[in-house]
């Protein structure tokens, strides 16, 4: 018993990144004491990894996906919709999965005790939303465009405007927490988090697109953000199985 399997490989993060950023990204100061220094153990995909939480039956509030209608009045800011599809790496839509978002308000301030940026809080904005993808894998949120904000990573550091996304896929390796950015942001070249993704085209896939078709006349600007999962590549480059 237990003698058939081969020894587990140790791999360097560098060799299994796929499109993801490395744990050790020196320009982002927060990584310095938080990235593992030992090699990773390459885990065969057992049933524990080929499964993942399923939330298709979750009872959500009717306004959970509309961040502009969660308080007595409307929040200040540019009203926008953000919608898109959640897809597996095989291109198949992922229906009935939970999509969670959080963001700063239009002034670039989070409703959080740790956020000390001297920009106003908005009493009508919490900045949290969630919804389930429909049978075509589509999700939709209504919110206000978040503001850029300063952080203390380096002198005069500013985060480009972004919305945090958390999604589950069909299996544990699909689990993705990312940030959605807005087209044409002048802060992109200066942001170590955005630029932690080494491939330029992969960085561009974190940027939503403005779409007039999703824009509602006299009401809200429409942005599209499709999320394809499967960016992790736990197949080390030197191991020649599939592709």
């Amino acid at each position: 018993m237990g003698l058939k399997h081969s020894s587990l490989s140790r791999v360097r993060d560098e060799d299994v990144l796929g499109v993801d950023p490395p744990y050790d990204h020196h320009e982002y100061v927060g990584t310095r004491l938080r990235h593992p220094k030992q090699p990773l153990v390459l885990l065969p995909h057992t049933l524990s990894e080929r499964t993942a939480p399923v939330y298709g039956d979750l009872a959500l509030g009717e306004l959970d996906n509309d961040l502009t209608r969660q308080h007595a009045d409307e929040p200040l800011g540019e009203r926008i919709s953000v919608s898109g599809r959640l897809l597996g790496s095989d291109g198949r839509p992922i229906p009935g999965q939970l999509v969670e978002i959080w963001q700063a308000n239009a002034a670039g301030r989070y409703r959080h005790a740790v956020d000390t940026h001297p920009a106003p809080l908005d009493p009508n904005f919490t900045g949290a939303g969630r919804c389930l993808t429909d049978e075509k894998g589509e999700y939709r949120f209504v919110t206000v465009k978040p503001g850029a904000y300063p952080w203390k990573n380096h002198e005069n550091a500013w985060r480009p405007a972004h919305i945090h996304f958390s999604v589950f896929g069909r299996a544990i390796p699909d689990r993705l927490v990312t940030q959605m950015y807005f087209p044409g942001d002048p802060l992109f070249p200066f942001d170590p988090i955005f630029n932690s993704v080494r491939d330029e085209q992969a960085r561009e896939r974190m940027i939503s697109s403005f779409e007039l078709d999703l824009t509602q006349a006299e009401w809200s600007l429409g942005f599209r953000f499709d999320i394809v999962l499967g960016g992790r590549s736990a197949t080390p480059l030197e191991e020649p199985h599939h592709d």
Binding site: M1, G2, K4, H5, L8, D13, G18, V19, P21, Y23, G30, T31, R32, L33, R34, H35, P36, K37, V41, L43, P44, T46, S48, T51, P53, V54, Y55, S89, G91, L98, E100, I101, W102, R111, H112, V114, T126, G127, A128, G129, R130, H164, A171, I172, R175, V177, T178, I193, S196, V197, Q201, A202, R203, R205, M206, D226, V228, L229, G231, R232
Partner: protein
């Protein structure tokens, strides 16, 4: 949709404000009810390379039920019962000075890479400011020494690596610290 649209979106850090989106009347607040007679409490601390607590992180667990069945379509072993309401997912912030906590049940054994049974374990995911993608590890149980000794994953690790993955009994529950870096660094997996 063109082919280039089918390439994956990269990971980014959850940042320091994840509690707004992921811990507000959150999913996975408990895996089972505290009243469940089988309930166990798993506590631990998330620690950085200086041994300091990480107070802005998130720990998630994913597991089979006590009979060893995942609440997921991929687990087709219909002879093992599912339980109503059991999802097998837990989520805890580390806002309390790096402490996280779960109320759950010990999962049953599930098949490993060669279909031999694995020792009971939880899949553990870690998110935090400073982590540009989640870390993946596993928690094994200290009262399963026989199963642990033949587990196809654990038995392939060296003693120091294995020690970081086995929780210890403490105060009637389990204690499982996660060290991101340095002395006693937790063994993390590429999946």
């Amino acid at each position: 949709m063109t082919d280039s649209d089918l390439l994956p979106v990269p990971s980014q850090t959850s940042g320091p404000f994840l509690s707004i989106g992921l811990l507000r009347d959150h999913v996975g607040a408990s895996v089972v009810s505290e009243d469940d007679p089988r309930a166990i409490r798993v506590r631990g601390r998330l620690l950085d390379g200086n041994g300091d607590p990480v107070p802005d992180g998130l720990v998630e667990i994913w597991q089979a039920n006590a009979a060893g069945r995942y609440a997921h379509a991929e687990d087709t072993r219909a002879d093992i019962p599912l339980e109503d309401g059991f999802r097998g997912f837990g989520r805890s912030g580390t806002v309390d000075d790096g402490w996280f906590e779960f109320v759950t049940v010990k999962p049953g054994r599930v098949p490993g890479p060669d279909e031999e049974l694995q020792a009971p374990h939880l899949v553990v995911l870690v998110f935090a400011r400073g982590l540009l993608k989640q870390l993946v590890t596993r928690l094994y149980f200290p009262d399963e020494s026989e199963a642990n000794a033949t587990d196809p994953i654990l038995s392939e690790l060296d003693e120091a690596e294995r020690a970081t993955l086995i929780a210890r009994a403490e105060d009637g529950g389990l204690r499982f610290d996660i060290r991101l870096q340095g002395e006693g660094e937790t063994t993390f997996f590429a999946v």
